[in-house]
């Protein structure tokens, strides 16, 4: 904020209200004056369309679910395939440079999965579930590429990651004896690669991927997938090697993300996500250290009070430090902006 010509958004209005400069009755008018009309008009339109399409499609799904068992196999295929043709045809007709056309192609991608499920149900192919998801991933990739829509890419990534997780659960872990924790690390790493690809693409001018939420969703997913196995190591360690890999992967991701979103892009919400996960991990480390050092023996007054007391101090220290870092980063970013 430039101190000479300060700007204010809706959140600053409460300060004016508390100072008595804006009355309760005049508050709505004051909101009008600071609200980004163009943004909210666009948002309102999109929300209306998304709600309409979402509820209508959910209604269609419910309708077929109601009648599904009574339908013949031919009817089942016909329904899904006709819907597929309508959505793809509609997308081509409307054009992929318009949001509605892109939405139709996303619907077609979802219907492809439904069609594969119907094939599996009718023919009882005996295929593993991961094969269905793998086929789905491959089949919708061309549509995902040509639609140039972030939601479509997100859907594709979810389907692809689900295929991998199922493959890991059904083949890699039981047959090839891969440690289960590594599957989660691979998921986190691949989402992190997708995030890196997103950043690279935006730098190359792919403006359709530039929406801020795409970065935050991918970052949160990557950090969550890497955090879960790393944190689990703090409660139970069976496989030391796999555990070390999990912890190193999480710390590496946190380090790289902190550096990139602080040094290069100065993105405070992204930094808050990273700091939040680091804070949670530090709390888990504290639990482990105290458990090893004192032990949480809740029936014995001495160890119980000292271990829980130490845990309280540790939790306050961890979150207090996180709060301090976030405040300082925010202050620095505000100074830089001004």
């Amino acid at each position: 904020m430039n101190p000479a010509r300060p700007e204010l958004g809706p959140s600053a209005l409460q300060a004016l209200r508390s100072a008595g400069l804006v009355s309760a009755r005049g508050y709505a008018a004051a909101v009008d004056a600071v609200r980004d009309e163009a943004f909210w008009a666009r948002w309102g339109m999109r929300a209306l369309m998304a709600l309409g399409v979402g509820q209508f499609l959910a209604g269609v799904v419910f309708f077929f679910a109601y009648n599904w068992n009574d339908l013949s196999d031919v009817a089942k295929f016909a329904i899904v395939e006709v819907a597929l043709v309508i959505t793809v045809g509609g997308a081509l007709l409307v054009g992929l440079d318009r949001v509605f056309g892109q939405m139709l192609l996303i619907a077609a991608s979802v219907l492809t999965g439904v069609l594969l499920a119907v094939i599996g149900q009718v023919y009882q192919t005996g295929a593993d579930v991961f094969e269905l998801f793998a086929a789905w991933t491959v089949l919708i990739l061309p549509w995902t590429i040509i639609s140039r829509h972030p939601v479509h890419w997100l859907l594709w990534l979810v389907v692809a990651e689900t295929a991998f997780v199922l493959y890991a659960e059904q083949v890699l872990i039981p047959v090839r004896e891969m440690p289960g924790e590594l599957a989660s690390v691979i998921v986190g790493a691949t989402v992190a690669v997708a995030l890196a690809a997103r950043e690279w693409a935006v730098q190359r001018g792919m403006a359709w991927l530039a929406a801020h939420w795409t970065r935050l969703v991918l970052l949160f997913a990557a950090m969550a997938a890497l955090f879960a196995p790393a944190a689990a190591q703090m409660f139970d360690t069976d496989n030391v090697t796999a555990g070390t890999v999990c912890v190193i992967a999480f710390l590496l991701a946190a380090l790289i993300a902190s550096a990139v979103y602080w040094r290069r892009w100065r993105d405070f919400p992204a930094l808050v996500i990273v700091i939040g996960f680091i804070d949670a991990f530090v709390v888990c480390v504290g639990y482990r250290v105290i458990d090893e050092g004192i032990g949480f023996h809740l029936n014995d007054v001495g160890p119980a009070l000292s271990s829980l007391g130490a845990m309280i101090v540790w939790a306050i220290a961890a979150t207090g430090t996180a709060a301090l870092i976030m405040r300082r980063l925010r202050g620095s970013l505000q100074e830089m902006t001004s």
């Binding site: 409460q14 300060a15 400069l21 209306l48 979402g54 959910a58 679910a65 405070f268 207090g320």
Partner: protein, 342 residues
């Protein structure tokens, strides 16, 4: 973002006074919501450990099997001490985090100390009310206000659930209008955290309760729907003055009728999430937009598992609602094109 000078000129506020008020704001807790979420989770973790600590002290040191009045008094003392800490060290990151966590733990101890001996959830809920009032009164921590008001709401709703099984899913309709009013006509004291708790916590509890029992029956709960419709009417009236031309007003009226059609057949949670979305639009609040979107997705999805209506009935409701919304969308797009062309 609007420039302060332009804002003051438009609203007739003295610019120097506005500058002073905004610079004074920096001394208060104005962290963004996602930062508050991180700190809130941290505070809950500390609170849980503190409660374990209190439990050990109670059982192993003082030989108290169940929370009782002395425990409630200790909880109140912890709360007051935390308040004192927060008042004297509001800027200290460690002190304020500890104060929020201990004040929350103190509130829960007091509620348990009052409610457990009588086996009364109502008493436990009532015991939290003075703490909630104090948390609203203090202006040092938004997080503390949100957490304590949330605890009071959770205990109150669970007590209601314990007594009346069926209407509990409609309770969000009672709290949403209050939360909305606090955001649209805010008092001078900052109560936004209370408003957000009133808007969000009952809907979240609705989700939890629906996992345990089927609470919604088709076409029942009409008082809740009536209340939500009144809320929509109010929001519509506020937005009405934004539309200046006749064509736009006709369209807005059509949209209002459509919303009424949408709200009537949907379960309270789904209608409540639509209120959140409309309120987000009215206030320009991205936080409410995110929460409302997530809630809308959840409630529409969970409609599938509702056992009170057949899938056929539910599919007709959803298709009709979707068709009405798409019709509105089409009308809006058409009007905007005409305007651009003219």
């Amino acid at each position: 973002m609007t420039e302060l000078a332009a804002f003051c000129a438009r609203t007739g506020i003295d610019e120097a006074a506005a500058r002073q008020a905004l610079s004074a704001r920096a001394a208060h807790d104005d962290s963004p919501w996602y930062m508050q979420v991180v700190l809130g989770i941290g505070a809950w973790i500390t609170t849980i450990v503190a409660l374990f600590f209190a439990g050990v002290v109670m059982e192993l040191v003082f030989d108290i099997d169940e929370p009782n009045l002395p425990v409630a008094i200790v909880g109140a003392i912890v709360f007051v001490a935390s308040f004192w800490l927060l008042h004297h060290r509001p800027e200290g990151a460690f002190a304020s985090h500890a104060a929020v966590a201990f004040a929350t733990a103190g509130t829960l101890l007091a509620a348990a100390g009052v409610g457990v001996p009588e086996e009364s959830l109502w008493r436990a809920a009532a015991a939290t009310l003075p703490f909630a009032a104090a948390a609203i009164w203090q202006q040092r921590s938004v997080l503390l206000q949100f957490l304590i008001v949330s605890i009071a709401l959770i205990l109150g709703i669970v007590a209601a659930w314990d007594h009346w099984h069926d209407p509990v899913a409609d309770l969000p309709a009672l709290f949403i209008p209050v939360g909305m009013a606090l955001l649209l006509w805010p008092p001078r004291r900052d109560v936004r955290a209370t408003a957000f708790a009133l808007l969000i916590v009952p809907l979240l509890l609705d989700i939890v309760i629906s996992r345990f029992e089927s609470t919604w029956a088709l076409w029942s709960g009409w008082p809740a729907r009536g209340l939500l419709l009144a809320v929509f009417a109010l929001l519509f009236a506020i937005n009405w003055r934004r539309v200046v031309d006749r064509q736009g007003r006709l369209l807005a009226l059509a949209a209002a009728v459509a919303v009424a059609v949408v709200v009537w057949p949907l379960p309270t949670g789904a209608s409540g999430s639509l209120v959140l979305l409309t309120l987000a639009y009215t206030l320009g609040s991205r936080t409410l937009a995110v929460v409302g979107t997530l809630m809308a997705i959840y409630f529409i999805w969970s409609f599938y598992w509702d056992l009170d209506g057949t899938l056929l009935t539910k599919s007709i409701i959803l298709m009709s609602v979707g068709a009405v919304l798409l019709l509105c969308y089409g009308l809006l797009v058409g009007t905007l094109r005409e305007r651009r062309a003219s």
